[in-house]
Symmetry: C2
Subunit: 436 residues, 2 copies
């Protein structure tokens, strides 16, 4: 269902009270009336990142009143991975339920990776355009302002659905960051800070934000306003640098809306569990209810190798308190580039967070699958349990590790307790209820 | 530091204003004055499970104002595992920071497993005595009341530090459980329900609770009042059955205190994220502030293969809201008996939860290790990062997967971003601060 050319952005259509094919599709997937989707897009509290040039896109809605979504970061780094491996990661991500895919490739040949990712992904695709700009020069500060803005157009034409732009990190914020324990941990943010210091000029994505908006409006690219000053450790959370940038993001959100551009806001990072609620509320308030896209947040710094878990803990709390879109973290965070298995593990961890938050937010029908799973458990219906699992393959594999014979899929117990001690069996005997 | 015979329980000593060697040790480990530990034990809000017969015990305090503790469940099941494997699991659990170990063995030969576990474990050891009682008969209901109580004495003499007793599940509660989606999911609870229905009598652990208390007082066994009616799926959470049993546990808590017996309370299970806070508050209120020992709780039912993550999410929230002691869940939950690697993974997931909660509860000094880790990250000091990690071996292994050469341990970047894009490097350049 290709959109007419000259259709404008979803936000512009919604303001004209037009229901687009993308709104219809999101409505059907979310069981929310298309009218309501349209109203929320008009209000800026929902976005549908859908660049008309991304032909095979199955549109996804992100924001208020919708299920919580999960993004998977992919892409090669200068030291690791090849194109076919990245495409394999996209396929795996879609298979295990990713709602969006960001291609964060750096190093040579990233155009070809991006085109392959766009082709392989039915989910919206996002990028951080400065990574590509950086490839063309030795030192990032060798880029001109036009170089930086030029990459946006190029990627928009290719079909990128959303772009992280670090427009809120101002020159005046850099001294705040230098007082931090570990400074700036956003790749794009650190590059922009380096550029500003070398040129002694303001961030061009801020000073020329109107041009950014023109490109975004023309291709209906949803802007994901990057938090270059997100805290990278618990000690730096909720500090002056973070909130100074957030205030700028609030200002830019309103400018995006004025230009008819869809926008969401990126958030922390590393945040102690008790500070997550106040962070979410502050963001929603400062940014007028725009969708909030969080990276984790990680609730401790001491678990390298397990940061998909520290991230999923923070993400559940964040989504419960209003975050709409979760960027996954893999077990390799802080240690190296994730491989295919890391992508799967990180994604499932964050699908757990999103789903747990949907249930906790009392999203209509969110618990239905859990209830079907519980019914299947009580019936010892192993095949149904596997099929309802977030990762059916792993559930089946783990079950088979201790009870490998096919006949065990008919057993009314598993190896955890064995037959005699199985609570489900004994409970049925005690209460006079049959398991099957 | 063996205790004098006739010394009585830690609770009795605390009431006499005596500071025991165990209180001294807990005081030193927690940096809390021994006087304060003593007062909290006297008030029942802290326990030190320390059976004098467990010779090599390094005592652990659990409860109000102390760091959150993590228990690891071990033990063979009738279908899987051998003694040496269980001892290996104990060693691994201690190595990765378990604060307590429960031997939940079922099947033949469990006396020898328990003795081996007691010998291998410097952490307090817990059991569920009915599992052993069940071994002696064909059907659980063939046991007499004396058989059930007899096992307690036997295990107390062996040196078990804490025991789960399902004394709060009354005959009158069983009809409440039969209305549930999946009934009783506690192994011990289901066995006791089966016994009550067959005998048409009250739960002997309740009707003869004074005898239970006598045994516990004699050996200073800490009672862990089991929640036989814990919800086993989200749909059954916070229901009449769960809270009816909780009220009985509140009554039994007071009776234990009257008898000078240390006591903690077990809790759910499977609970939607938004119901965790009210669950924790209700338990603390009903049970007079006794330490709360939760199993997870799991915040969704649809993630078999990843239930260490669903559990760690719920556990963080539970501990943030007042739970003192977390029982880990492994990736094999609902699927089979955990192996050595599952024990490690489940334990680290729950150590993350406990630590994240310590930080969120603003426990003094809780964030120090995180800050040292962050400093090491900024310095690209990989060896210090590994040594501060909750699982140093895994952190090192993951780092080496993409940068295996020894010289990479001196690199000022990792394979996630590579040198040019490394935020820590670019941030240092922008802010004029040196990484090293």
């Amino acid at each position: 269902m290709a959109r007419r050319s000259g259709f404008g952005t979803q936000l512009q259509a919604a303001r004209r009270q037009e229901i687009t094919p993308e709104m219809e599709k999101v409505s059907a997937k979310e069981s929310v009336p298309a009218e309501v989707i349209m109203q929320r897009i008009a209000a800026g509290t929902v976005v549908i990142p859908a660049n008309p040039a991304h032909r095979n896109l199955d549109p996804v809605g992100i924001g208020s009143g919708l299920t919580v979504k999960v993004n998977v970061n992919l892409g090669r780094s200068p030291t690791s991975s090849c194109l076919s491996e990245e495409v394999e990661k996209v396929r795996s991500a879609i298979r295990y339920g990713a709602d969006a895919v960001m291609d964060l490739s750096t190093g040579p040949g990233i155009d070809s990776v991006r085109l392959a990712v766009l082709e392989a992904s039915t989910a919206p695709v996002g990028t951080v355009p400065v990574y590509q700009a950086a490839e063309t020069v030795e030192r990032f500060e060798d880029l001109s302002e036009d170089d930086l803005l030029g990459v946006l157009s190029k990627q928009a034409v290719q079909g990128v659905d959303f772009m992280t732009i670090h427009a809120g990190l101002l020159r005046s914020h850099i001294p705040l960051a230098s007082r931090r324990r570990i400074g700036i941990v956003s790749r794009g943010g650190a590059l922009m800070a380096r550029w500003m210091m070398a040129h002694e000029r303001e961030n061009p994505f801020y000073s020329r934000f109107d041009e950014v908006l023109r490109i975004a409006a023309e291709h209906d690219v949803t802007l994901s306003l990057g938090d270059g000053l997100r805290p990278g450790c618990l000690s730096d959370a909720s500090d002056e640098a973070q909130f100074a940038e957030l205030d700028t993001l609030g200002e830019l959100t309103r400018r995006a809306w004025d230009a008819g551009v869809q926008v969401m806001i990126e958030g922390p990072g590393h945040v102690p569990f008790d500070q997550i609620e106040s962070n979410m509320k502050r963001q929603k308030q400062v940014c007028g209810g725009a969708p909030f896209y969080v990276l984790g947040p990680l609730v401790t710094d001491i678990a390298p190798g397990y940061d998909h878990i520290t991230g999923a803990i923070g993400a559940t709390m964040a989504a419960f308190c209003g975050a709409d879109f979760l960027c996954y973290v893999t077990p390799k965070e802080h240690l190296g580039l994730p491989d295919l298995e890391d992508v799967r593990t990180g994604l499932v961890a964050f699908r757990i967070a999103a789903h747990a938050a949907d249930i906790a937010r009392r999203h209509p029908g969110a618990r239905d699958r859990d209830d079907r799973m519980s019914d299947a458990r009580f019936r010892f219906d192993w095949e149904t349990q596997f099929s309802l699992a977030l990762d059916p393959d792993r559930a089946r594999e783990y079950h088979a590790m201790t009870l490998p014979a096919a006949e065990h899929l008919k057993s009314e117990y598993c190896s955890m307790c064995g037959e005699k001690y199985c609570a489900m069996r004994n409970s049925a005997i005690a209460t006079g209820r049959k398991n099957r």
